[in-house]
């Protein structure tokens, strides 16, 4: 149902794809992060989002640089290492009508950022939180991150003796309302999950294995392209169906496909691949992840979703008018009120 008067390279928002791009990337050629940036661009373009209606956030790292490389027309804050969640939390109160997209790294989130990661989830901030997970510190040249698998060996670093932190397990433990895992090598799934996340109200954690081709891409490494291609095991085939295209869905209604209706009316189709999987059941999510870790397979897909929790800004009952547009008359109480207060001060 494309609009006939519209030039083919322009979406329903009247924008062409370039208007969703950012500055040229300065990341390494082949870096997983670049492909994720591309899927963010594609998803926003295809969803007809207005760039000015979004917000970008990141911490510090190669991954955290990537918001420079998408959505030039979107306000953003490249904050501090591990502290992106707090900056995003404050900023969203400025205009809660904007949808936030955050990009972080495994070091930025699971090492220095663990505390803020946990607490932003607990507050259910309305934000897509992408962890570009490569098991190393890219920007500081290849030290172990907390998600590196036990036994991994890296130049100058020796052998990693610790069990990895599982971003999705941690997200579930903190009661995240949307938890997904994907693989930068699986562009189609990455894009579908980003679209679903953008349609979710509340925090959406996307743990995307995004290989560092420079420092951690040997085939045995669990965050490499090679290992990912070998071991990726989708729990379902995901298709995102935008709001107005429900007609399209009919075909799918059948036993082998699960249908998740999102708040904005769009629909996420989960087509069965292996055994049945219900992403609305916490325990099966936990079991899935425990089992995947034990069997050392890279399961991907929409692991968990819970749609009825209020977001942080819901809880605070602020006006529809963005707070940052309220004028003085609505911010400074009248003089009489102060007289009353003075009188009350004994």
């Amino acid at each position: 149902m494309a609009d006939s008067r519209r030039p083919s390279n322009v979406n329903e928002a009247g924008l062409n794809k370039n208007e969703y791009r950012g500055a040229p990337t300065t990341l390494c050629a082949g870096c997983g992060h670049n492909s994720i940036s591309n899927q963010i661009i594609a998803a926003c373009f295809e969803m007809n989002l207005i760039p000015e209606n979004l917000l970008k956030f990141s911490g510090i790292g190669c991954s955290s640089k990537s918001p420079t490389y998408f959505l030039n027309r979107t306000f953003g804050f490249n904050s501090l290492h591990g502290r992106m969640p707090s900056v995003a939390t404050g900023a969203v109160f400025g205009d809660h009508s904007l949808k936030a997209i955050a990009v972080s790294g495994d070091g930025d989130t699971a090492s220095i950022g663990m505390g803020q990661f946990k607490h932003v989830i607990r507050r259910n901030l309305n934000m897509v939180y992408i962890v570009e997970n490569n098991g190393v510190y890219g920007l500081t040249k290849g030290q172990f991150s907390a998600t590196a698998e036990e036994g991994l060996s890296l130049k100058y670093q020796g052998r990693n003796p610790y069990e990895p932190i599982d971003i999705c397990v941690e997200a579930l433990a903190a009661n995240a309302t949307f938890v997904a895992r994907s693989f930068a090598g699986d562009a189609k799934q990455v894009k579908s999950l980003i679209k679903a996340a953008l349609s979710h109200r509340g925090i959406a954690i996307l743990d995307i294995i995004s290989p560092c081709v420079t420092f951690n891409n040997s085939d045995e490494a669990h965050h490499s392209f090679g290992w990912g291609r070998e071991n990726e095991t989708p729990i379902h085939d995901i298709t995102y169906v935008p709001v107005r295209d429900e007609i399209r869905i009919d075909g799918y209604e059948n036993g082998s496909t699960k249908l998740v209706e999102m708040h904005d009316g769009s629909v996420v189709l989960l087509e069965k691949v292996g055994e049945d999987y219900d992403p609305t059941d916490r325990m099966s999510a936990v079991r899935l992840l425990e089992d995947a870790a034990a069997r050392e397979v890279l399961i991907t897909g929409l692991i968990y979703i819970e749609q009825d929790e209020p977001t942080l800004t819901d809880i605070y009952e602020i006006p529809d008018t963005p707070l940052n547009r309220l004028e003085e008359s609505r911010l400074r109480p009248a003089p009489e009120t102060l007289e009353k207060i003075n009188a009350r001060m004994f």
Binding site: I50, E52, S86, F93, D95, E317, T321, N324, L331, L338
Partner: protein, 610 residues
């Protein structure tokens, strides 16, 4: 109703040696025992009688069971500073009995509850006991409340002995319990019974008396943290993010009390604010930075340990030029130090807060009233100067009860600084750049998230950036930006509040101070005057300084810089600003956790001026 004993109504209090409305009372109790209500009741009653009064709470860093002291000073001359002398001491706590007894000034009065069985070895003071527990038992106080109410006994005894009007006491209780009759009666009955018992059993005394005055009608009674919170409320605070810490917590909690009452949106009835208790101070300031960047009046409040944790974000706010307000209610450091003792020890740290080259803006409130003023003004400054503004209060100012002038409604409208919205960008011919110094004052124009103009967006960062907020490592770009920040800092001088100067003609001795020491300085100047030493006084209200500061120093031969820290931190900052004047400046520091006393200041200066 008048005081239970007729004697008191006779105005014979002004006999020789009598100290009318001019002495200090210290009560030694156990914390968590409800004595705070008794002490506030005494203060409020005295205030109600029109007598200038001040209270200093010296409490331990725990919740219940340790010795705690409350000193009330009445001063017909309106002196509000702490004194070392205490003419009347009331002991309620066995653990501090000895200390309390020893602390009575010779010729003074020592009262203690008769369930403390100690023998008293001083004959240079008057000593009386009273049956605190008895009085409560005899009253119809419910068992579960008796321990708390026991402290009301000394209110009654004291009232009777020094002549506090029981009407005033009653209205103090009425205020405290918000008109709730039951608690008012329970407490007042004990007080009245104690007063009656005193009249009947204790020898009256004429030496220390209070008599009604009319010196408080122009004042209110409150604390600096409440004032700061209210100032922020009237300053249009939109985002308050905090993490609990003594002595700053009551600032955040006052917001929880007043914002819902005062800041429902007139149009929608919704909240025009958000108060978030963060998971720690890093998150608290991080949220404030996010909010300030997004155009909110954002603030956080903390104390030393929190400031230390905020250091990295402080640098980001400084360098990304994000307006935020940070209240530092100073307590004794280094490290965790003494959480319940006051100090002015964070100046140099805050001045240099953040790695690399930073110079921060500081406001220094000198009264509860000024806490209110800076509560709103700090936002104007932060948004006009696009920088973090640090307000350095302290525990004494923030948590103690002060008589202060009523809060003044902000005289001028909010100053939101250089912000461009859609229509502003529409109007422009030339391209806008976030860090483009169009006006030459170092302050550039910013746009805010939510702006729908396609040219409005920019990517904020703590890394090197050019005029268009693009990442750059170019040496010239870096230099140019740092020079502009320096320029902005110079511009800031004009925006910061003026120092308060009292410099009589021909006086050669100057005093420089700031913050909560103001009452002590004022009193010490009178003491010095009596000794024939005339002084000028400049109370600093902000860093960086104005021209006037330099002139004050130039116009005096010797300047004493008086502060409550160990290193003479303001003296250090003044030395850096005016090295060529440094020879004139003498650093006087006192920093043991207790608010400064006028006597100490006077002695120090006299020592050097004689």
């Amino acid at each position: 109703m008048t005081s239970a004993s007729p004697k008191v109504t006779e105005k014979d209090g002004l006999s020789a040696g009598a100290m009318v409305n001019d002495f200090s009372i210290t009560v030694g109790t156990m914390n968590g025992s409800g004595s705070q209500t008794s002490n506030l009741t005494i203060i409020r009653a005295l205030f109600k009688m029109g007598i200038p009064v001040s209270g200093k709470n010296v409490f331990p860093s725990n919740i219940q069971g340790l010795p705690t002291w409350y000193t009330i000073r009445v001063s017909k001359d309106g002196y509000l500073a702490r004194r070392d002398d205490q003419e009347i001491v009331i002991a309620m706590n066995p653990d501090s009995f000895g200390k309390d007894l020893a602390s009575v000034t010779p010729g003074g009065l020592f009262l203690y509850a008769d369930h403390l069985r100690f023998d008293v070895n001083r004959d240079d003071i008057r000593v009386d006991t009273f049956p605190a527990k008895d009085l409560v038992r005899k009253s119809d106080t419910p068992n579960n409340l008796r321990d708390y109410v026991a402290n009301m006994a000394y209110v009654g005894v004291l009232s009777e002995l020094i002549g506090i009007d029981l009407d005033a006491v009653y209205s103090a209780l009425d205020f405290h319990f918000d008109g709730k009759q039951k608690p008012i009666d329970i407490n007042f009955n004990v007080i009245r019974d104690a007063a009656v018992w005193t009249a009947e059993n204790l020898r009256p005394q004429e030496k220390f008396r209070v008599e009604p005055m009319d010196a408080t009608s122009e004042y209110i009674l409150t604390d600096g943290n409440t004032a700061a919170a209210l100032g922020a409320v009237y300053g249009g605070v939109q985002l308050m993010t905090w993490y609990p810490i003594t002595p700053a917590s009551s600032l955040g909690e006052a917001m929880n009390i007043y914002l819902p009452r005062l800041r429902k949106d007139p149009e929608t009835g919704k909240n025009t604010f958000a108060v978030i208790q963060a998971e720690d101070e890093l998150a608290a300031i991080g949220m404030a930075v996010g909010g300030g960047w997004a155009g909110l009046r954002a603030m956080t409040s903390t104390s030393g340990p929190g400031i230390s944790l905020m250091t990295e974000f402080a640098g980001l706010a400084y360098y990304s030029e994000t307006p935020i307000v940070v209240w530092d209610i100073q307590r004794m450091g280094p490290s965790t130090g003494l959480p319940t003792r006051t100090s002015q020890g964070d100046l140099t740290q805050v001045y240099f807060l953040g790695h690399g080259d930073t110079q921060n803006l500081m406001l220094l409130p000198g009264s509860v009233n000024e806490c209110f003023e800076f509560g709103w003004r700090a936002f104007d400054l932060a948004e006009q100067l696009q920088a973090p503004v640090y307000v350095l209060s302290d525990l004494d100012l923030g948590m103690n009860t002060w008589m202060t002038q009523p809060f003044r409604y902000p005289e001028d409208p909010m100053q939101r600084g250089k912000v461009l919205w859609e229509e502003d960008l529409e109007k422009r011919s030339e391209r806008w750049g976030r860090y483009l110094d169009e006006d030459g004052d170092g302050i550039t124009y910013r746009t805010l998230p939510g702006n729908k103009h396609p040219a409005s967006a920019w990517f904020a960062r703590g890394t090197g950036h050019d005029e268009y907020a693009r990442y750059t490592e170019d040496p010239e770009d870096w230099d140019r930006n740092m020079d502009r920040l320096r320029r902005k800092y110079e511009t800031a001088r004009d925006f910061m509040p003026d120092p308060v100067i009292d410099a009589p003609e021909g006086v050669s001795v100057g005093i420089i101070a700031y913050g909560s020491t103001d009452p002590a300085i004022a009193e010490s100047r009178d003491l010095l005057a009596k000794e024939g030493i005339a002084t000028s006084y400049m109370r600093l209200r902000a860093v960086p300084f104005k021209q006037a500061v330099r002139e004050f120093i130039e116009n005096h031969d010797r300047i004493y810089v008086i502060e409550m820290n160990h290193s003479g931190q303001m003296h250090q900052i003044l030395t850096l600003e005016y090295p060529h004047l440094s020879e004139k400046m003498v650093s006087l520091c006192h920093n043991n956790g207790l608010p400064l006393a006028a006597r100490w200041i006077a002695d120090q200066i006299m020592e050097q001026e004689r």
